[in-house]
Symmetry: C2
Subunit: 217 residues, 2 copies
Amino acid sequence: MTHSEENYLKSIFHLGRNVKEVVSTNAIAELMDTKPSSVTDMIRKLSEKSLVHYKKYQGVSLTEKGAKTALSIIRKHRLWEVFLVEKLNFTWDEVHEVAEQLEHIKSEKLIDQLDELLGFPKFDPHGDPIPSKNGNFVETTKMLLNEMPIGAEGICIGVKDSSAPFLKFLDKNKIALGYKIKVLEREEFDDSFYIRIKERKIHISNQIATNLYIKII
Amino acid sequence: MTHSEENYLKSIFHLGRNVKEVVSTNAIAELMDTKPSSVTDMIRKLSEKSLVHYKKYQGVSLTEKGAKTALSIIRKHRLWEVFLVEKLNFTWDEVHEVAEQLEHIKSEKLIDQLDELLGFPKFDPHGDPIPSKNGNFVETTKMLLNEMPIGAEGICIGVKDSSAPFLKFLDKNKIALGYKIKVLEREEFDDSFYIRIKERKIHISNQIATNLYIKII
DNA sequence: ATAAATTTTTAGGCAAATCTAAAAATATAT
DNA sequence: ATATATTTTTAGATTTGCCTAAAAATTTAT
């Protein structure tokens, strides 16, 4: 399996969200920043390998085998992201590019041991779930803080805006991944929020709330 | 720089041992398990990029730039090997194949942080020196234990035979990388050795001695 | 329902990295 | 010193993954 094939499977998975859903040639081309004709070429190749279902002009979808492969690559990508943040002091916004390379390394032992080294994490630094070895992953109800009703509780699992200024702001206000959050009250006037985070009560603007992902518990 | 280009530079470095030495097309082909004609093609390409000195039929040698590149790949390879052994429970004989892949990952921060995580190691699990960021590395007088004179002292830095049985034997006899060794006496009859290793005195066969690399101190 | 717009595929080509087979240069042996 | 052997290069082909341009199929709009 080549890097390119793996990248296509990953893209089809991300666009399709679940195994059966059909994805268009143009959508893949746009996501991967390539030409539709190149996509057609690769789809045919993947089809011959029974990794996708494909009928001319009718779009493409992953087979069981294709989905399993895609999930194993996503598992590797997300485990490496955790590694980079937890062990090598990378910030959330720096990990993606390197993980894109690391996800293609072939060694089952490597990824199993990495999983163990990291303590079998369930989420990556952006709050996305890490598939298990056999392709299962927790389907979380992930929502933005500003969508949460008053009284709702959850865990901060990620950011939408991953720019340096925003991440710095979070640092300064001691808002970090894994912290428990409860919505106490909303300010009608400016749509800001009073929240409890890790036993502290703070006030945050709507703009902040629209960029924090919370896993509802 | 492609993976293939990097692999060629690494091979030329290993065959040449030092920057100026000229290496033959056939030698490269044999080491890399490829055809001489393929080597010629690549050499021309590397020459156009000023990574090697090349004159038709006269062999090839690394330029300053080529050597620097080769050393940075070797640095990455060896740091990853340390990581695999120290952090992911790989054995000495399992690391090479995976390190061959990892050495091509492009990220300066990644490798600097990895270096730090590992405590800036000077040697890889086979006892080979790890080049520094700017390409310097300790030129060790590495010799096999059986070549050491009586009374000589050193540190166990690697093995020649990296088969599983031999590594298991070392484990059982508590001989490991980094341990201090002194040759106390030689047994003329069977060429065996009495050595002190980490304050313990033991007796080892000539066959063992011919497979242990020692850095002389 | 048909014309127009869009999407998708085909056809043909290109660059990288490899190969085989044959030619050219260099090295070796008598 | 010349014939033989070896090494190295060239020429031409192949595969992978991509491209452009044009044709074919599908979708949308009137």
